[in-house]
Structure formats: structure tokens, C-alpha cells
């Protein structure tokens, strides 16, 4: 699950964990899986990040936030955007998934279940408010590119579902 951490220097982890996705403030970019590598080379932190969706407007902000956080810890940095390998929702860590849930966004299901939920009208996405699975797809596209909009038919609350991207 944490395949993203393999090229990350230990010393940089606590700094990067403090940077969060500006659209989902409870979720650290480390738990989101967008940091692909981070290494100290000749005193400069070289960080590679990958976008969740091509048009994700959060990427520019995340890049700036990383530079700022590293600066505050005394490191100059170079942040690079890479496209390969393409991000997948599998890289969201367990901790990230619970953070999403608590924040009111249902975390992504596996690809087959995701298809059933988004195309087959199956009621399997758990409501983030009351845990019921008596939920209904309202729209395949939600408040941001990565989410779909659902409604719980038990507690009647609308909520976001983080779409599976694989």
C-alpha cells in the first residue's frame, strides 16, 4: 500500500506529512500518495509529486506548500511534477482512508465494486454520516474531479464518494 514511500528520505517524512491537500485539509499528501520520491541531494531536497487528476488545480498549491514547509525546516528544495507511473487510488494509505471517512468523503472501493456503484446502481457505498449502505448515486461527477456525489436514503444526507482511479 505504501509503495510511495520507498524513495523518501526518513528525515523528510515528518515535514512532508505536515503538508495537506488544500481541498481535503485532513489528508496529508503522504497519505494521499502523491509524493513519489523525496531525497536530500547536496543539501537540497528534491521532491517528485504526481497529480491525482491531470487538471487537479491543487497541484500548484501543493508544490508551493512543499517548498514552504521545507524552507521552514531549513531546506532549499526543488519540486518536480511527474506523470509516470500514473497515480492510482490504491496509493491512498489506510490512515488516509479513515481521514477521508471522518471528513465526510467515502473512500474508494475496489475497481469492480466501484463500477457496480457508479454504473450498476448497486447500493454498496457506505454513508459517511450513518454507515448505512442504502445510498444512491446522484451524479458521477462531484465537487471536484476526483469525487462522485451520493445521497443516503436512510439519513438523507448527501455525501462525496472518492472515485476509484486505477
Amino acid at each position: 500500500m505504501i509503495a510511495t514511500n520507498q524513495h523518501i528520505d526518513e528525515i523528510l517524512i515528518p515535514i512532508l506529512e505536515k503538508v495537506s491537500d488544500p481541498e481535503i485539509p485532513v489528508l496529508s499528501i503522504m497519505d494521499m500518495g502523491v509524493v513519489r520520491s523525496a531525497q536530500l541531494i547536496n543539501g537540497i531536497a528534491e521532491v517528485s509529486i504526481t497529480p491525482t487528476y491531470s487538471g487537479c488545480p491543487a497541484m500548484d498549491v501543493i508544490g508551493d506548500d512543499i517548498t514552504k514547509a521545507l524552507k521552514e525546516s531549513g531546506y532549499d528544495s526543488k519540486v518536480k511534477l511527474i506523470l509516470v507511473p500514473a497515480w492510482t487510488t490504491d496509493w491512498i494509505t489506510e490512515r488516509g482512508r479513515s481521514a477521508l471517512r471522518e471528513y465526510g468523503i467515502a473512500p474508494p472501493l475496489n475497481p469492480d465494486a466501484d463500477k457496480d456503484a457508479l454504473l450498476g446502481d448497486k447500493r454498496i457505498v457506505k454513508c459517511t454520516n450513518c454507515n448505512s449502505t442504502n445510498t444512491k448515486l446522484v451524479s458521477q461527477f462531484g465537487s471536484t474531479a476526483c469525487k462522485a456525489l451520493f445521497k443516503c436514503e436512510d439519513c438523507l444526507e448527501p455525501f462525496d464518494y472518492f472515485k476509484c482511479l486505477k
Binding site: 491531470s54 506523470l83 509516470v84 500514473a86 451524479s139 458521477q140 474531479a145 456525489l149
Partner: protein, 250 residues
């Protein structure tokens, strides 16, 4: 400069840019909140893909070229998008039909482009496939829903399909640049996608109880920079800020 590659990237990117611009026009004007958000989400994906292509193109062009200068500071004849994507949002049926007719092609193209010998193009394609699979689902669903809906929705969707059909053949025109690059394993020979395309589109239209047009006449020109009358208006809107306040930045 690798002129062929540069032009080929524009050929890929301009379709995304102009299709995205048209969908973006629906921001705040969609027929319902959900469709409004969906269309603008798709637009955002397409703009994201455009940025990746243009950043690469700017690197190849060198000098002062940036993704913004390529997006905003060309004249109409320098845009290489197909005529289909610049057609206006006459009504929601037109918007969906236009986007669907493009989405099916786009996905077939990317499925091939991911194996390009050019690593950047391959990377952009791999990333985009995931997004475009959602696009084609959304627009395909709406084609069926409107086609197999009420008498009026059926009629509107049929009119849109009939009106846009003459622009579909251009999707499979192979430009000189693409031809040369295809031989090197960099570009996709789009003429090879034609059969699969019409098969898919025909199946879906029939599912939506729509009639597949039998036009013998097809319109083309976009890839050579000869656009329909709608393109100038689209560009004047899209380029407004850069033309009015040159070099402005967010």
C-alpha cells in the same frame, strides 16, 4: 526544433483545449446542477491534459515559449483541432453529442498512444485514459437517456447527431506529420481507429433508439487550420485576457 513532433503535439492538444473550452462555457449555465458540474469537471480534465501536452511542446519549441503562449497567443489558422470540437453548444443535446462523438475517438486514440515510443506522450496517454473512460461513460449514458427518453428529447438528440455527423470523418484524417511519426512508432495512425469507432458509436446510438445518419458528405479542414465560422468567436472569448492584458499572470 523537432517540427514534426511539435505539430503533432498541437494536433493532440488542441482537440482537448477546444473541447474543454466549449464545455467550460457551461459553467453556471448547465441544465441542472449535476450536469453543469459534470461538464465542467470533464472540461477541467481536458485542460489538465492540454497543459501536459503544451508544457512538452514549449520545451521542444524552446526560446520564450510557454504553455500559456501556445494556448493563448496563436492565430486561428495555427490551431489544429478538428472541426467537431469547436461546434457550439446549441442545446444540451448538441453539447452531449459533440462530446460523445469526440470521447469515443479520444479513448481509442489514447489506448494506442500509451504505447508510443515517445515516453512523455505515452505518460500523458496513460494518465488521460483513466479520466477519459469516465467521460465516455457520462456522455454515452446521456445519449441513451435522451435518445430513449421522451419524443422531444429523442428528436433533439437525433437532430444533434445528424448535425454533427459530417464532422466525424475528419477524426481519421492522417496529417503528414502524424504519418511520418507513426512510422517511427511515435504517433498513432488514426485511420486504423475508424472501423472500431463507427462500430462503437453505431451500437450505442441503436441502443438509444437513434438512427445512424447515412451522410456521404463529410466536412474537414481543422487539422490544416481551416476552421468553421464558430472558431473565431471561441478564440476571441478564450484569448480575451491575454490579448487585453498581455503577459498577465494569475
Amino acid at each position: 526544433m523537432k517540427t514534426n513532433l511539435y505539430n503533432y503535439i498541437l494536433e493532440l492538444a488542441d482537440n482537448c483545449l477546444i473541447a474543454g473550452q466549449r464545455l467550460g462555457e457551461l459553467c453556471g449555465h448547465g441544465p441542472s446542477l449535476e450536469t453543469d458540474i459534470a461538464c465542467t469537471n470533464i472540461s477541467l480534465d481536458l485542460f489538465g491534459q492540454t497543459r501536459s501536452y503544451f508544457q512538452y511542446a514549449a520545451e521542444i519549441k524552446g526560446k520564450d515559449a510557454t504553455e500559456d503562449s501556445i494556448a493563448f497567443l496563436r492565430t486561428e489558422r495555427e490551431y489544429k483541432n478538428i472541426l467537431l470540437v469547436e461546434q457550439p453548444n446549441r442545446d444540451f443535446a448538441y453539447t452531449i453529442a459533440r462530446q460523445y462523438l469526440f470521447d469515443v475517438f479520444h479513448l481509442l486514440l489514447l489506448e494506442k498512444l500509451q504505447f508510443s515510443q515517445d515516453l512523455t506522450l505515452s505518460a500523458i496517454a496513460k494518465k488521460s485514459i483513466k479520466e477519459v473512460s469516465y467521460h465516455v461513460r457520462f456522455t454515452g449514458d446521456w445519449i441513451k437517456r435522451l435518445g430513449d427518453g421522451t419524443e422531444i428529447s429523442h428528436e433533439k438528440m437525433q437532430t444533434a447527431i445528424d448535425g454533427l455527423w459530417i464532422y466525424t470523418n475528419e477524426l481519421f484524417e492522417v496529417t503528414e506529420e502524424a504519418k511520418e511519426l507513426a512510422e517511427e512508432g511515435i504517433a498513432v495512425d488514426v485511420s486504423t481507429l475508424k472501423e472500431a469507432y463507427y462500430e462503437k458509436v453505431t451500437a450505442l446510438l441503436e441502443e438509444g433508439t437513434l438512427t445512424v445518419p447515412e451522410s456521404k458528405y463529410f466536412q474537414k479542414g481543422g487539422k490544416a487550420g481551416i476552421h468553421t465560422e464558430h472558431m473565431g468567436y471561441l478564440l476571441s472569448d478564450m484569448q480575451y485576457m491575454q490579448r487585453t492584458y498581455p503577459n498577465m499572470k494569475w
